[in-house]
């Protein structure tokens, strides 16, 4: 499997992804799965500008991603799969056989409760993460490689048991 990280990050491509993970993992490509970005040339250009020239970026909608992910998995280079939302990642867990999910950054919003410094979750998002786990995915939170991954159950607090 050449996709070494399946990451939920509402900032999509940024320093932590390109440098923090990208350099130590020697990342050759990023598959960015987001409906809004997939529909906007301007957004795609913005993310391409933020990516080093030796790192490819591919854009797909959530609906298209399942059909093309095997192609990326056959790539010899290590790659990162990125989604901006828990909903998109849940869909990929269901349709594209994703078994490991990294919560990389979901930031403050009015309807979200703080869980970690870089993780804020709405009840719906919590439910979606639980569903990923119940479908057999290992869900952990980790912003950068130098920190320890934290299990979903820890992220959601001791009272929240993962089914």
């Amino acid at each position: 499997v050449s996709i070494v990280l399946n990451r939920i990050d509402d900032r999509l491509i940024h320093g932590q992804v390109v440098v923090g993970w990208g350099q130590p993992l020697d990342i050759g490509f990023i598959v960015l799965v987001d409906d809004e970005v997939a529909a906007s040339d301007w957004e795609q250009e913005l993310y391409r500008m933020g990516t080093p020239p030796d790192m490819e970026v591919h854009f797909h909608s959530v609906a298209d991603a399942a059909a093309v992910l095997d192609r990326y998995r056959a790539d010899e280079r290590p790659g990162i799969l990125l989604t901006g939302t828990t909903a998109s990642m849940l869909e990929l867990v269901k349709t594209a056989g994703i078994r490991e999910v990294n919560i990389g950054g979901i930031h403050h919003r009015a309807d979200r409760k703080p869980r970690l410094r870089y993780v804020f979750l709405s009840p719906e998002e919590e439910q979606q993460l639980r569903e990923m786990a119940s479908l057999g995915a290992t869900v952990t939170a980790q912003d950068v490689p130098a920190t320890h991954p934290m299990d979903l159950s820890e992220v959601l607090g001791s009272e929240a048991s993962v089914q």
Binding site: D10, R11, L12, I13, H14, G15, V17, V18, V19, W42, L46, Y47, M49, G50, T51, P52, I106, H107, H108, R109, R117, Y118
Partner: protein, 134 residues
């Protein structure tokens, strides 16, 4: 002799963690002109909130120059989003201390012109010596 009035804000410095705060404190320590800059930290913000914060800081301060730290960084991404409709603002990516010092000390009345000079100074300030294998 000494000018006790604080220099007004001419530029925003935005970056990861305490990068901006650190750079500005260094400018203040060296020149006493740290107040030329408003610092912004991108840490802990969503892309949407960071863009909004940057827009607000530009509007509040009237700054026409924004310095950011890293190409792929979220502050730079936010700056590019702002640039979409604020083409009157100059965005400079890859800021360093010599660049900010040159900008802070510039007597050039137009901030953007001062920034263009500072960019060249910042680029030229990167040097290396030594490293000969023993």
């Amino acid at each position: 002799m000494s000018d006790t009035t604080r220099a007004s804000i001419r530029a925003i410095v935005a970056g990861h963690g305490d990068f901006a705060k650190g750079l500005i404190s260094a400018v203040e320590a060296i020149t006493g002109r740290g107040s030329v800059f408003r610092g912004v930290s991108g840490s802990g913000f969503s892309a949407v909130d960071l863009e909004e914060l940057l827009r607000r800081e530009i509007a509040d301060t009237g700054a026409t120059v924004v310095f950011t730290d890293l190409q792929a960084g979220s502050c730079t991404m936010a700056a590019r989003r702002v640039l979409r409709d604020r083409t009157d603002v100059l965005f400079v990516c890859g800021v360093n201390l010599p660049m900010l010092l040159d900008f802070a000390l510039s007597t050039e009345p137009v901030a953007m012109t001062a920034a263009r000079h500072a960019i060249e100074r910042g680029k030229a300030a990167i040097t290396s010596v030594g490293g000969t294998p023993t």
